[in-house]
Every structure is written in structure tokens, then in C-alpha cells.
Symmetry: C2
Subunit: 94 residues, 2 copies
Amino acid sequence: MSMSELESAMIAIIHVFHKYSGYKCKLKKAELKDLINNEMSHFIIVRHSLSTLDELFADLDQNGDLEIDFQDFIALIAMMTSTCHDLFSTDHRH
Amino acid sequence: MSMSELESAMIAIIHVFHKYSGYKCKLKKAELKDLINNEMSHFIIVRHSLSTLDELFADLDQNGDLEIDFQDFIALIAMMTSTCHDLFSTDHRH
């Protein structure tokens, strides 16, 4: 039996993180920038709801080591998915 | 240009939530149970790391209305994806 849509989605998020982080399992600011520019090109509205990359990165990088780990990354994806959901729901209701 | 793997993953998470919540945009406990059983059948290890469904639901349902909204749901998915990531990373390192 193949994986469900939800399971595939969870694996895809892990996969894209590692595509940009490589084996170090941490994203530097430039890597996060590339990831957002390359992998979220259709979600311009959602990206516009974010603060600037510098502010965003500072928020996510709570220990100040200039890298974000998977836990920080998934928090970002959750926030963006939630924004995306709100935008779609608003569209449907009006 | 088609959506990236990450964008498709974010849409898939929104889609599965609505598949079980319907138009009310909230999941009741029985609906969350069905969603976990049907859509996370390959992630048994991850599910075992969760508390019981009753405890999990009580944790997520912070306002006590016996329903969880998308924000609560995405927090759960983030937690499960992070557990999933940790398990895979541990496998790779040992």
C-alpha cells in the first residue's frame, strides 16, 4: 500500500529541508533564502505576509548560532501553511 | 510551472484537514481519530510516540470546545513531522 497524501507531504517537508541543509542538518540564512525563493515561488502572497528574511531568520534562530534546525524550519512551515489556509478560507467565504 | 514538492505538501495538509472536517473547518475527536487511522497507517512508530488520543485531543483543544481548528492541527502535524525527522536522522547516524 502506498503512502497517504499526508504521509507523503510530511516526508516531502523533511526532504526539502535536507536538500538545502545537506548533511549538517542546519540551514544557514543564505540556504533558507534559496529554499524560499526556489520552493515557494507560487506562494508569493504567503511570503509577503512574512517579515523580511533578516527578521524572520532572527526570530527562528533562537540560540543565535546563525543556523536554524529542523524544529525551527517546521515551525516556519506550520506558520506559512496556516496563513495559506486562512487566505483560502477567506476566499471561499466571501 | 507546476508547484514545488514543498508547496504541494502544504496544500496536501490543508486538503486532508478539510477532507475530515468538512465545511465546519473544525475536527471533532472521532474525525481526528479517523484521520490518524486512515492517513497515517505507515507512521505507526510516530503514532506510538504520541500520548493516547484522549490526552492528545485534550492537549490540542485548548479552549475545550471538543473541536480542534486548523492551527491546532498544523501544530500536531509539525510535532509528528519533527518526531519523524528525528527517527530518520537517528537511523542515518548509527
